[in-house]
């Protein structure tokens, strides 16, 4: 599928202006949160169940290489054929070749985010093979030629009594960046994700912009931690910053992923231009601001001076007790908000007076 992660802001703006999206988002997260709450109440101790789930995922990911080997052995022993695909090209190639060899003209397909990641439908179409999504929601998005908006909604029809068993079972084990993500204990944490979508429904940003701005198979906080781990930081500069660090995803995650901590890690790796993750490095302006902050903040006399200069600079634009705009200031902030004019004295400068009065 097309990766449009680098257009996060642009797509977000379009979605904020899209009445359909906004109407949908007003209903969706609340309804899903209510469903989740009632499901959780079916556990005698929901928090213990939550912790148990996290432990299972943690163990499974720590043992992933070993478990995959066991899986392959068992699968082969049960008559399946296993193919290890290094990337999406290898996986799609294997599947398309197999279909051609067997004279297949169309395939049916269950809802699967990993095939979105592969762009399997497009690859099969190129090989002249028609694909039919069996999941109703996926079928509709297929007809609309759009990527999925949400990752876990809708389930397809199932009639277990009609299942007759396949003649051949082929299993593709996909790497596509996962081994590299596994090497770093931090990014490894992202692999715990079970694609349940709980974090999407909890996320205030997703709740406003929906799934499209995230630009790849995985949207919401799970996309923000997975996409950089699998794709690197090159085109995900906005993606890793499109977060207020509100921590709701971390609290709700049944796999125990600490999304805020991972996003902060990615930002750090991006700023320092980390090679393994393909960080972009920071612009001179931002670098200057943080260097200035850290130098001034290491000495309270410099800090005092810094406060004075900031006050003089900001208050040049005051009108009454407010600042409505600044020519070279934060335009995004002033697009919808004022700032208070800075008071004549900082708390530090008032301290002698406060101390005398109160203590």
């Amino acid at each position: 599928m097309n990766i449009t992660t680098e257009r996060f802001k642009e797509t977000a703006r379009q979605e904020l202006a899209n009445a359909h999206t906004q109407k949908f988002l007003q209903i969706l997260p609340l309804r899903l949160a209510a469903r989740r709450d009632s499901a959780y109440q079916s556990f005698p101790d929901p928090e213990a169940a939550h912790r148990y789930g996290q432990t299972i995922r943690d163990e499974a990911i720590q043992r992933l290489p070993e478990l995959l080997q066991i899986f392959e052995t068992n699968a082969i022993a049960n008559g399946a054929r296993v193919f290890w695909a290094e990337d999406s090209r290898a996986a799609n190639g294997y599947i398309a070749e197999l279909a051609k060899r067997e004279g297949v003209s169309y395939v049916t397909k269950g809802k699967s985010m990993v095939t979105e990641e592969l762009g399997l439908n497009e690859a099969l179409a190129q090989a002249g093979i028609e694909t039919w999504e069996t999941d109703l929601g996926e079928f509709i998005t297929q007809l609309l030629q759009r990527p999925p908006f949400h990752i876990s909604l809708d389930s397809g029809p199932k009639r277990s009594d009609e299942i007759d068993g396949p003649e051949e079972l082929h299993i593709v084990i996909l790497d596509n960046g996962r081994s590299a993500a596994y090497q770093d204990p931090k990014t490894r944490e992202a692999l715990r994700c079970i694609r349940c979508g709980a974090c999407l429904n909890a996320c205030p940003v997703y709740g406003k912009v929906g799934g499209y701005p995230y630009g790849w198979a995985y949207s919401g906080p799970m996309g923000q931690v997975l996409t950089p781990a699998l794709q690197g930081l090159g085109n995900t500069g906005d993606l890793i910053r499109a977060c207020t660090l509100c921590h709701r995803c971390k609290i709700i995650c049944p796999a125990g992923i600490d999304h805020p901590s991972l996003l902060l890690y990615y930002r750090y790796k991006d700023v320092v231009g980390d090679r393994a993750l393909g960080g972009n490095g920071a612009g001179w302006r931002e670098r200057f601001v943080h260097t200035l902050l850290s130098v001034a903040g290491s000495d309270h006399r410099l800090w005092r001076l810094f406060a004075k200069v900031a006050r003089l600079a900001a208050n040049r634009f005051r009108s009454g007790d407010r600042i409505h705009s600044m020519p070279n200031g934060p335009q995004g902030w002033f697009s919808s908000r004022d700032l208070p004019a800075l008071p004549a004295k900082t708390l530090r400068e008032r301290w002698a007076q406060i101390d005398q009065k109160r203590n």
Binding site: K9, A12, R13, L16, P204, V205, G207, K208, R241, A242, C243, T244, L245, C246, H247, R248, K250, L264, Y266, Y268, K269, D270, V271, A282, E286, R287, H290, T291, L293, S294, V295, G297, S298, H300, W303, A307, A310, R322, H324, P330, Q331, G332, W333, S335, S336, R337, D338, L339, P340, L342, P343, A344, K345, T346, L347, R348, W351, I354, D355, N359
Partner: protein, 249 residues
């Protein structure tokens, strides 16, 4: 008398100093003596959140040097407390010496309402203030520190104050530091939603524990709903015990 060391966020020091004064007022009311280290600067939250860890570490080392001999360190900001209590450990994960110093400091750092209720064991300040208020759950305060019952208990204890329900009280106001500027469209949609829920709640005032949310929400109200007020918990409570803190500009 307990000696409490004030950890004043930069935003309070430079922009909203009345919150700091109200903090001193409340602590005094509770028989605590406030000390203020004038060497304190910035905890490094903004640099850390922006990915500038080297710069944040420099600020964090300064912070630790200034505060590490204090027994009780109290701040009227959930996000700054979270930075010092939890994020410093990530910041120094590869530096055993400073990690240990950060670890030693962490349990002594409290968010204001947490200190009053959990540590001092006070849920009623004995104040009176006639108002209908709603409470905004600041994300760092609620989700990172788990502080929510404490400020609400303090608000409910004020005679004449009615704490009304706020729809979406625990949904982010869209501040997120530099997020508010660099993702202005999304941030605005969130703060608009917060303001709408506040207006619909019928409350006179929207109370919160974080100066960042306050700057954002009040900034939006000033632009779009002049006269409507958001207020920091410290200011609200200080007002209820008769020590009316002047909002200086």
């Amino acid at each position: 008398m307990k000696r409490v060391s004030l950890f004043i966020p930069c935003l309070v020091d430079m922009v909203l100093p009345h919150i700091g004064e109200s903090t001193v007022t409340l602590l005094r009311h509770l028989d605590c003596e406030s000390t203020y280290h004038s060497e304190q600067t910035c905890c490094g939250l903004m640099s850390f959140n922006s990915g500038f860890r080297k710069e944040a570490r420099r600020l964090a080392r300064h912070f630790i040097r200034v505060f590490e001999n204090d027994e009780w360190i109290v701040s009227p900001s959930g996000s700054c407390v979270n930075m010092v209590k939890n994020r410093y450990l990530e910041l120094f994960e590869d530096d055993p010496v400073w990690f240990a110093r950060a670890q030693g400091l962490a349990p002594r750092v409290y968010e204001l309402s947490q200190f009053i209720v959990d540590h001092l064991g006070v849920e009623d300040l004995g104040g009176t203030r006639h108002a209908k208020v709603a409470y905004h759950e600041s994300c760092s305060t609620l989700n990172a520190l788990g502080v929510s019952a404490q400020p609400k208990a303090l608000i409910r204890s004020v005679r004449g104050t009615e704490l009304v329900e706020l729809t979406g009280a625990d949904i982010c106001c869209g501040f997120g530091g530099t997020f508010a500027n660099s993702f202005a469209d999304v941030s605005t949609a969130l703060v608009r939603q917060k303001a709408e829920y506040f207006l619909a709640s019928g409350a006179d005032l929207l109370v919160m524990c974080d100066p960042g949310c306050l700057l954002n929400i009040q900034g939006y109200l000033d632009r779009h709903h002049p006269g409507r007020r958001a207020v920091h918990l410290a200011d609200y409570l200080a007002g209820s015990i008769g020590e009316k803190t002047q909002v200086a500009t």
